[in-house]
Symmetry: C2
Subunit: 186 residues, 2 copies
């Protein structure tokens, strides 16, 4: 398992501020799943909140609605094949934790949904119930109740990707991603 350090909750928004594609993990009633989500964003600083789109057709939707919980996992470039695989296959048809590309799962601290191994950061979230926008727009809001990061990649409120493979990623389309690029000051 990747090393993990706690991220203070008022800093949790920084894990998503630059718009990475995330993996949404979920669990309920003995089942667990993970899917990819480019459509996510921070929604508030403190207490930290997030927004993510979870389509009605997905098993993730069923598990998130049943449990009221999810984890946003920030994958690295090393996990791009995994991100693509869990974003294009349905948890109704395959167990994504036995895929060849490998979605390893570790226990979270505050929620039943697993932390995906090898990611750069993790946000454990409790759904803020907003049935109208969930139903109408597939839009889920969550309060972040615990956050973690690989200290090689994020510490003291800043990302510092340690090598070319351990960068966050941004999905484009058709299997194509962007890596998070160089840092610069405006």
């Amino acid at each position: 398992m990747t090393q993990r350090i706690a991220v203070p909750l008022p800093k949790a928004y920084l894990l998503l501020n630059h718009g990475p594609t995330v993996l949404v993990s979920s669990a309920h009633g003995g089942r667990q799943n993970v899917m990819a989500a480019a459509w996510n964003m921070a929604l508030d600083f403190d207490p930290p909140k997030v927004a993510v789109v979870i389509d009605k057709a997905t098993l993730t939707r069923e598990l998130v609605e049943a449990s009221g919980e999810f984890v946003l996992n920030v994958p690295s470039r090393q996990q791009a094949a995994l991100t693509l695989a869990v974003g294009t296959q349905s948890g109704r048809e395959v167990d994504k934790f036995s895929l060849k590309v490998g979605a390893g799962a570790a226990a979270a601290s505050m929620v039943g949904a697993p932390l995906i191994e090898g990611c750069l950061a993790w946000l454990e979230c409790r759904v803020i119930p907003e049935p109208h926008i969930q139903q109408t727009y597939d839009l889920f809001l969550g309060q972040v109740i615990a956050a973690w990061a690989d200290p090689d990649a994020f510490s003291n409120g800043r990302w510092h990707f340690p090598d070319s493979q351990r960068h966050s990623i941004h999905y484009q389309a058709g299997g194509s991603f962007f890596a998070t690029g160089e840092t610069f000051e405006a």
Copy 2:
């Protein structure tokens, strides 16, 4: 003015899919404004929808609520200083279109809010009224009714940043950005 070609509406989500920081422009009653927003995302494909967080304290909020319209502009690295300036100063105190860093404005096609010159892409949006989430979370949903891109940077549904300055950008914190990095296939 930057060259602009129309982006077919079902492809408009691709302008935001990789999570760039945007500029939100707005206009109402003879006033116009522009602010930065890292907290934005695509919300649907076709008709295309977007979500963006617009704080209650901002002039942008007042103009968007009054007009029911906004534009999401995707700035380039060349515009990082502008992005930081319009993200840290209030339109109540300065006219952001007369800043030294320069936010030039051009007329949009479908909305009163201006297109910010020199950007890489533009999404003209009409607010989808959802008063509860606007009030509770500062969360605004919009339907994209016209979309444009600089053809040097985006065409045929794909980004292809032409040089190191004309990349989209991702705000981190404290004046620090990431450039959108290299493309790769998973």
